[in-house]
């Protein structure tokens, strides 16, 4: 138990190394091996969960001196939010690998890159010092770049390039911001920085404008990753050109890395700056909610539609955070609801969006690469099982009560309404638009007269059902028993809502 967090991060990397060193492996063995290494996260997360105490702050902490001149330490720790995202990674990553079972061009390299990506994402969720955190954050781009570029669609090279240059552009400013922060206070440790900010020592050591500039740098780096409107322009291309498995991971996990950064770094270290900027930021998050949904409505390509809906969904998480930052600690109840909603929404969106990308991938593979909304019709009669599972995913994404998506969005709106009713009202527009385009998806693809070639549409294979079923089951379970997850982070968000300015 002593270094379980390192083990969580390093096991997928070990898998990548094993694959790298065994070029003679048969594709099948390679896939099974990769899947096992990928599943290790879920197993280890369960072990950590068994010893986890939600009220106890950071646990399983590992801290070792690393670079003396920069006072950098290898500092890992697990709290409720980290655990939530580690579990999410443990669910999405094996699912995405199963969804990529059919990749036949160089599967060894695909799986290797995928495991590397998984390890890097886990590192982001567990590191508590900027230096290791940033290593994981940046390293995750490398496999993502190659997964999109080498296995993606016709425009993949451009999309991958754009994705990486945008993200590195944001990261460069975040790096500079932390360099500046370090030169003033002499630490990179998130926990220490948060404590300094809490005690007011940070504001005492730096001038207001300098601190604002640093805040903006960090904000930019995180906003590109999430993405927050208007830094989202890389997303539709990247998500829609990526191969199915990579799209699932990108939307399921990588967009959460950005939101996680907002909650782990920006909120504890720069609460005052966030408060000052919050009215603008609420506007941007609302723009993401509303415009993301309307843009999705206008898409004729299903994959781009799901991509735009991701912008809409992750913007709810940020809307909740910004609303809390805007109102301060006046309404602790609403703040707790907003935070809980944001965290649940992260998890739920991970499940539903990755399931939807998988379904679009099925449509695409069955129809020989077509994924226009008008290319299908009447798929329900040809493939009833597929229609049922995809329908559940669609309704989960839409926020139907009884399924997981509802709980998160409800809590976000419950919180935001208490803090900033106007924002909640405008955000509802996004809900309507989301309902509209998801229902259009459902109707055009699954109902109506059968389109050309749909009659021979094969239903899901056992393998594909096995890929999708756990996610769908979780949608029901979490829709009815959200307290499974809420219990993990409730003490944490209560502390956030009451202890911070």
């Amino acid at each position: 138990m002593k270094c379980i967090l390192s083990t969580i991060i390093l096991t997928p990397w070990l898998g990548a190394l094993v694959l790298a060193l065994s070029p003679r492996l048969s594709p099948k063995t390679g896939r099974v091996l990769a899947l096992l290494f990928s599943l290790s996260t879920l197993v280890l997360a369960a072990v950590a969960y068994a010893g986890f105490d939600a009220t106890a702050g950071y646990q399983f902490v590992e801290q070792h001196q690393w670079i003396s001149i920069l006072k950098v330490s290898y500092h890992l720790g697990l709290d409720g939010m980290s655990l939530l995202l580690v579990v999410l990674t443990g669910l999405i990553a094996p699912t995405a690998l199963l969804a990529s079972w059919k990749v036949d061009r160089d599967p060894r390299l695909f799986n290797l890159l995928f495991l590397f990506l998984q390890g890097a994402a886990l590192g982001v969720f567990l590191a508590l010092d900027f230096f290791p955190w940033f290593i994981f954050w940046e390293l995750s781009l490398v496999p993502a770049f190659f997964l999109i570029k080498l296995w993606g669609g016709p425009g993949a090279s451009r999309a991958a390039y754009q994705f990486v240059v945008y993200t590195i552009g944001g990261s460069a400013f975040m790096l500079l911001a932390f360099a500046a922060l370090f030169s003033a206070v002499g630490t990179f440790d998130f926990v220490e920085l948060a404590a300094l900010a809490h005690s007011g020592a940070l504001a005492a050591k730096m001038s207001g404008p300098a601190l604002t500039a640093i805040f903006l740098g960090v904000l930019l780096g995180l906003a590109v990753k999430v993405p927050l409107f208007p830094f989202h322009t890389w997303l539709p291309d990247a998500y829609s050109e990526a191969p199915t498995g990579a799209s699932m991971f990108l939307t399921g996990i990588m967009s959460k890395m950005g939101v996680y950064g907002f909650l782990r770094i920006l909120w504890p270290i720069f609460p005052a700056q966030l408060h000052h900027a919050s009215s603008v930021l609420i506007g941007l998050a609302l723009a993401g909610v509303v415009l993301g949904a309307f843009a999705a409505m206008k898409q004729s390509d299903l994959k781009r539609m799901v991509a735009y809906s991701s912008i809409n969904h992750v913007s709810y998480c940020l809307l909740a955070l910004f609303a809390v930052a805007w109102s301060g600690s006046i309404h602790p109840d609403a703040s707790v609801a907003a935070f809980s909603g944001a965290l649940l929404q992260m998890f739920n969106h991970g499940l539903s969006a990755s399931a939807l990308f998988f379904c679009v991938g099925i449509l695409e593979s069955r129809s020989g690469g077509k994924r226009g909304i008008l290319d299908f019709g009447g798929v329900r009669t040809a493939a009833p099982v597929f229609a049922a599972l995809c329908g559940i995913a669609l309704f989960s994404s839409l926020g139907l009560p009884g399924l997981n998506g509802f709980v998160g969005e409800f809590l976000v709106f419950r919180g935001v309404f208490g803090l900033d009713p106007w924002a909640a009202a405008i955000g509802c527009l996004g809900l309507f638009a989301t309902a509209y385009f998801l229902l259009t998806f459902w109707q055009r693809v699954f109902h109506g007269p059968q389109g050309a070639g749909i009659a021979t549409f094969r239903d899901l294979t056992a393998m594909e059902i096995a890929t999708l079923a756990p996610t769908i089951a979780l949608m029901f379970i979490l829709g009815v028993f959200p307290q499974v997850l809420v219990g993990l982070f409730n003490p944490l968000v209560t502390a956030w809502a009451t202890h911070l300015p």
């Binding site: 670079i67 001149i69 920069l70 490398v142 570029k149 240059v165 400013f173 360099a179 500046a180 030169s183």
Partner: protein, 500 residues
């Protein structure tokens, strides 16, 4: 430690030996060169293992040389010189491995090569300004011959340009040194003595002296706008020589700035600081943008070197211990990474495809034809982009922290240089290695049309990759040597002289 001077003598002896061996057989000359380089590198590593970090230069040899002028044969080392001699050993060994396929006048090639290395070791170990200058000149001459005789594109022009720039630079340094010696009535050329003498000259004199010495050295470090020799020189040079040129010779210039120009005339630092810093940032951004639009693969790498050396100069200009520690780390890091990039472009790709035009490479799916070169270049490219986990990242981060303390705007501009580096590196990776095969070409024609990767290439690539990873993950290995030497009396004068 006391063995370190032997790196100089052994390299020169190795040069003579490989010249003689080359008359008998090429293989023998290669063997002699590799053994010599390995031996010297072994000495530097042995010295590094037994090194106790300390504030001052630790004397190695100190005997009178030209007593009439107070010139001494004085070799000494501290953490900074140790870092750079270890780099020299590594770069020299890797460069020889990547020159393994040279067939023309092998003995002479390695003789020039080792003579250059000997000069470089000499510069990094000199504690007497005159001696420093002598070794500096010794290093320039073989460079000219290596390029002019074994180079490729435009080699006469490249070699001549490089030699003229270098000589002009060293002339400026010489004038500056003599100015101090004469005007300050110095009794010798030891660095503390010259510093004392320089302090007695007028402030205007100091400003001129600093300008001469610093600019003279900075020419060789590739400071904008005196950088134009670097891309043409790198492109014209044979692979092994480009590796040395980018890997260690550009460091000679930066080392001269740090070890001679700044401590000797710290009084003029405040005047020159903004000039140097702005030129450095201009170099980072300008060279990065130029690299973004090059058609020749090797020119991309050549300009990227100029851009990265801009970070070194920026760190020096900030003149505080953090920034300078970062600059020294960046010298090491760039030496390794640039060597690796040139090795892939010059040796692995060019000597097999016989083209460096990105337009031509775009038509070849090199990632399938040369998977090894592709993996090495991708890793080296990531390192060059400043990806965390590789040595460039802690170096650039430390420089940015240091620069932020003296100027926010410069730090912001330099950070945008990181972004430009990502853009041009990714572009080079995309175009050069992930091109599309011409559908008209039969699949069988693509099956291993190129010679397989040889063992020297593999070994060299592994050595350099390992170095950038080890330093990237554990920068303390070098920083623990570098940081104590930044407290020496000479360096403390620098910190006092700079505007903070």
């Amino acid at each position: 430690m006391n063995l370190l001077p032997f790196t100089i003598y052994l390299s020169f002896a190795g040069a003579v030996l490989s010249l003689l061996a080359g008359m008998r057989s090429a293989a023998m000359a290669r063997g002699v060169a590799l053994v010599t380089a390995l031996f010297c590198w072994g000495i530097t590593l042995y010295a590094a293992c037994n090194f106790t970090p300390a504030r001052d230069l630790q004397n190695l040899v100190d005997v009178a040389w030209i007593p009439e002028m107070g010139i001494r044969y004085h070799l000494a080392a501290d953490g900074i010189s140790l870092t750079l001699v270890v780099l020299t050993g590594l770069a020299a060994t890797a460069g020889i491995l990547f020159s393994w396929n040279i067939e023309e006048r092998v003995g002479e090639f390695f003789a020039f090569y080792l003579a250059l290395i000997g000069g470089v070791y000499g510069v990094f170990l000199s504690a007497d300004a005159f001696l420093f200058f002598v070794f500096y000149e010794i290093a320039i001459v073989p460079k000219y011959f290596l390029i002019a005789n074994w180079g490729s594109t435009n080699r006469q022009y490249g070699a001549m340009k490089l030699a003229l720039y270098s000589f002009a630079g060293s002339a400026m340094v010489l004038v500056g040194l003599l100015w101090i010696y004469a005007a300050g009535h110095a009794s010798g050329f030891g660095l503390p003595e010259l510093a004392r003498a320089a302090a007695t000259t007028s402030h205007t004199d100091q400003i001129f002296i600093f300008g001469l010495i610093f600019t003279g050295f900075a020419v060789l470090a590739g400071m904008f706008p005196f950088h134009t020799w670097a891309p043409t020189g790198h492109v014209a040079a044979p692979t092994g020589a480009s590796m040395l040129l980018a890997g260690v010779v550009m460091k000679l210039g930066a080392y001269g700035c740090l070890r001679v120009a700044m401590p000797l005339v710290p009084g003029a630092l405040e005047f020159w600081q903004p000039v140097i810093a702005w030129l450095a940032v201009a170099g980072i951004i300008y060279a990065g943008l130029v690299a973004l639009v090059q058609d020749d693969f090797k020119f991309v790498i050549g300009y990227s070197s100029v851009s990265h050396m801009g970070f070194v100069l920026l760190g020096l200009a900030a003149a505080n211990p953090t920034a300078v520690a970062g600059a020294v780390l960046q010298m090491f890091s760039h030496g390794v990474i640039a060597g690796l990039l040139f090795a892939v472009v010059g040796r692995m790709v060019y000597e097999r495809t016989h083209t460096r035009q990105l337009e031509d490479l775009r038509k070849l799916p090199l990632h399938r034809l040369m998977p090894f070169a592709c993996v090495v270049f991708v890793l080296a490219g990531l390192a060059s982009m400043g990806m965390p986990g590789f040595s460039g990242f802690p170096a650039e981060l430390t420089i940015l922290i240091g620069v932020w303390k003296s100027s926010k705007i410069l730090a912001i501009l330099a950070a945008s240089g990181v972004l430009i580096a990502a853009a041009f590196t990714l572009r080079a990776i995309q175009v050069a290695f992930f091109g599309q095969a011409n559908p008209a070409t039969p699949a069988t024609a693509l099956h291993h049309p190129y010679a397989p990767v040889t063992w020297p290439e593999r070994t060299g690539a592994f050595l350099l990759l390992a170095a950038t990873l080890v330093v990237g993950l554990k920068p303390d290995l070098l920083l623990n040597w570098i940081v104590p030497s930044l407290n020496s009396p000479l360096m403390q004068a620098v910190w006092r002289g700079g505007a903070q």
